[in-house]
Structure formats: C-alpha cells, structure tokens
Amino acid sequence: MEFNHSLILFYSSNYTMWANNVLQDDGIICKLVAVPREISSNCGHCIKIEFALKEKAHELLTRKHVKIDRIVDI
C-alpha cells in the first residue's frame, strides 16, 4: 500500500504545538489538522506531513525530546 502522508499524534496539544514549532524552525513543511475521530479520541490537532519526511521529522522530534504518541500513515 502506498502512503502519501503521515499524521503525527501527541498526547496533548502542548506537545503538538511544541512539535509544530520545532519542525517549522527546521524548515520541515507540516500542517496542523484536526485529529480524525477514527484515529484517536483526543480533542485537538495533530501534525500532517508528507510521508517522505516522516523519518526526518521523527528523528528531529526524538532528538528534541518532544514525546510522540504515535505516527499513522495515510
């Protein structure tokens, strides 16, 4: 199956905003979108990035200690 995008989910919007700032500061293009209900019951948003950038984003966020809930490819 081919994926175009990944959704990075966080436990709380505080981490989502942190991640958004970290990714943008590093020039990684990302977008905040409402968390799809079928994926999680969390109120709020997650980060949508191109599938090709997933590993880079993951590595960067881990290095900066931004805790991720999970990554869902879509």
Binding site: S12, S13, N14, Y15, M17, W18, N21, N42, C43, G44
Partner: protein, 410 residues
C-alpha cells in the same frame, strides 16, 4: 546621571499622555503590580480577545490552534528566561500564590522538615504554617542577618535528617533585600533537599537560571516585574526535577486523553486542568519580550531611582527612617517619626495623586524582622516608567506632611 531613558523612549509618549490625562498621577506601587504596562502588552491582550479568543488545546479549528500557539510561545519564552530547555516544564497557574500553593502542598504529602526565611510573603508562609499546625512538618524559619539575608551556614545548622524542602523568597517585597539563591540552591542540591524560589519580585529584574542557580522550582507571577497582566503566573521546574513528586491539586479537563477518566500524568497537563488565561498569557509574552530587551536598563534604572530617593529623602525629610539598602532594586520601605504609614499614604493619594502602599505588605514576618510590626511601613516601589522628577515631587509632598504635622501637632 544615567537613568536608562532608552526604556521609556519607545513607550513614554503614549504612557505619559495617558498619565497626564489622569492629573499627573504618580504610581509608586509597582511591587504590588506594575503600572502602567507597555503598550505592546495591552495590545496583545486586546488582540487575543478580539482576533483569536478561542479555547486552546480543545478544538481542531485554526482559531484554537492560534490560541495554543501563543500559549506554547509563552511557555518557550519562560523556559528561556529561567534557563530551562524543556518548555513543558513551564506550568501556568493564575499567579505566584496559586503556584506556590501547588508546589508546597503538592510536595508535602508526608512528614518532614522544611526550612524557610524571615522575609517570606504570606503566600509561602501560610501554606507552610498550615502544614506545621496540622503536625505534618517541622518548620524552621531562619532569621538571617539584620536584613533577613540567610547563609548556607544557617541552613547547615538547622538541617535535620528528614529535611526535605527549602522555600526562599528571592527578593523581599518589603525592603528589596535579595537572598543568595545560588549558594543555597547548590547546598540544597548537594544535600538532596528540594528548593523552591519565589521570584515574584525578582523576575524581570535579576537573572534567574535554574541550572546555574541549582534551583528545582521557581514560582513566578506575571503582573509585577514581568510587566504582564494580572491573573497569570506559574511554576518553572528545572530540567532535572522529577515533577511526579508534586501531587496535582486539581484534576479535570485538559483537552488531552479525553477518552480516559484517569487524569493525564505528564507535564504540563498534569497540573493544568481547566481553561487557561490566554489573553493573560498573550500579554505576558509581550511583557517578557519587553523585559528581555531592556534587561540591563531596567536593573540600572531601578537601582538609580532607589538610590536617588534614599539619598534625597534622608537629606530632606525630617524624621524619615529607611529600611532598605542603597542596593535595593526599586523597593523602599520607610517610616516618618510621628506620622502613621496609613496617614502618609492616604494624604499622598488623596491630596497629591501619589499611589503608594502602607502596612504589612502581606509579609508580617518581614516587618517583625525589621521591627515595624504591627504598624508596618510606607512602601514606595519604582517601575521602569518612574522618573527622578516624580521622586522630587513626592519628597516635596512628604516634607509638607512633616511640616503640617509640626504645625498641627499631629
């Protein structure tokens, strides 16, 4: 003499115009809350309420995202200000009082020994005294030197096997005296004792770096030296501090883990139930930017204004006794022989439009320490928008008061 006019230049015009329209009001009560605020702070609060007044972290729409972003950016600014690398270690509360209550009550679940100082504000001493009265803790209030300044040797002497917490007010809101937090922080770290610093008066005036100062927790308030609005404050926890030692005092909606009835156990959500004061947070961000930009000028200006007042008042005002040192950064307590503090501040306010504060300043311990309990003192506290001209006017008014007293035999 250098008074850091740079600070005012950008902001002076609009601020001064407003004050002139209030009959040359002189505001010397900046330790209670700074006033006026920089225009940028006011604009940020209004912009938030007008343009993006949505609930942060709750909804998926972009307006909520904008609100969450300003909350994050303020967290980051506070983390930078206090030398912490993890912005999630910044916890918002409504002021220093609620922040200190969270830290003290959240930490003191079991028995133990706690040390504090004789210059504490009631926001520290009352919760600690409650635990003492309830038999949970043994409390030692260290006397310090004649000004209440404590030393490591005093802590060493007072330490017990079960010492678990030290709470220190960094800068006295009565005399302006400053505690050596780095030395004490270092000693606490070496002795495995948690340190909390109340930086209500010092934040924005003196640098505080949790890492370099070896401090575990600071409690800050946004509306004093950080020039933000009232109703916003919080805790900053050092990167190495294990926040799980603090039990949350409230639980509820956080916008996170909404499918669970278990409260989140991660920072900052664990301590931040309920909707945050986003307009206050937006204003605070501008306040932090302001004090960061003018950091050195602010310190210089407050020091110079204090020196100017002390030197001139001692020369010109008969019977004045000043309880603050020449090194004070804007907080000056004084009494005038034969005049009660409340009489002085009433006349200053009613007849001369000068705002100052009388009494005990929520710190009875400090007044016992300097020998002014229970009458208290008059406190003049200067902010960045005050001038030597205003001090000259105030000194003239104090003089008149003294003369009227001798005339009327008050």
């Amino acid at each position: 003499m250098y008074f850091g006019f740079l600070i005012s230049d950008q902001y002076k015009v609009s601020v001064m115009k407003k004050l002139e329209s209030q009959n040359n009001l002189i505001y010397f009560d900046n330790a209670a809350t700074t006033f006026p605020k920089p225009e940028t702070v006011i604009e940020a609060v209004v912009e938030c309420m007008r343009m993006y007044g949505a609930n942060p972290g709750r909804s998926g729409h972009w307006l909520s995202v904008k609100a969450s972003d300003i909350v994050f950016k303020t967290r980051l600014a506070l983390a930078n200000l206090f030398g912490v690398s993890n912005p999630m270690h910044v916890v918002f509360e409504s002021n220093a009082t609620s922040a200190l209550n969270l830290a003290i009550k959240g930490l003191l679940s079991g028995k133990g020994h706690v040390m504090t100082t004789s210059i504490e504000h009631n926001s520290t001493i009352r919760p600690l005294h409650r635990f003492e009265k309830d038999g949970v803790i043994i409390l030692d209030i260290l006397e310090g030197d004649s000004r209440g300044v404590v030393s490591v040797s005093e802590f060493k002497k007072a330490k017990k096997n079960n010492s678990k917490l030290v709470v220190i007010n960094h800068m006295s809101n009565v005399t302006g005296v400053v505690q050596p937090i780095r030395e004490i922080g270092k000693w606490c770290r070496e002795n495995n004792i948690i340190s909390i610093v109340d930086c209500s008066q010092s934040a924005g005036v003196i640098d505080i770096d949790l890492k370099k100062d070896f401090i575990d927790i600071v409690a800050f308030t946004g509306h004093k030296g950080l020039y933000g609005p009232m109703g916003i404050g919080g805790l900053v926890l050092s990167d190495s501090f294990d926040y799980r030692m603090i039990k949350p005092l409230k639980e509820g909606g956080t916008g996170s883990l909404s499918d669970e009835i278990n409260h989140p156990c991660f920072l900052p959500d664990i301590f931040e139930s309920g909707t945050l004061n986003v307009p206050g947070i937006a204003g605070l961000l501008k306040g932090i930017e302001y004090v960061t930009e003018f950091r050195e000028e602010i310190e210089t200006k407050k020091r110079e204004l204090s020196r100017y007042f002390i030197a001139k008042a001692l020369k010109k005002v008969e019977g004045i006794k000043i309880y603050s040192g020449m090194d004070s950064l804007g907080v000056i307590s004084f009494t005038i022989k034969g005049l009660s503090p409340s009489h002085i501040t009433n006349i200053l306010s009613e007849n001369y439009n000068i705002m100052s504060r009388q009494g005990l300043h929520c710190s009875p311990l400090s007044h016992r320490k300097i020998g002014t309990f229970p009458e208290g003192t008059v406190r003049f506290s200067f902010g960045v928008f005050n001038t030597t001209k205003e001090i000259d006017i105030a000194i003239k008014c104090l003089n008149k008061l003294v003369k009227e007293k001798s005339k009327n035999g008050v």
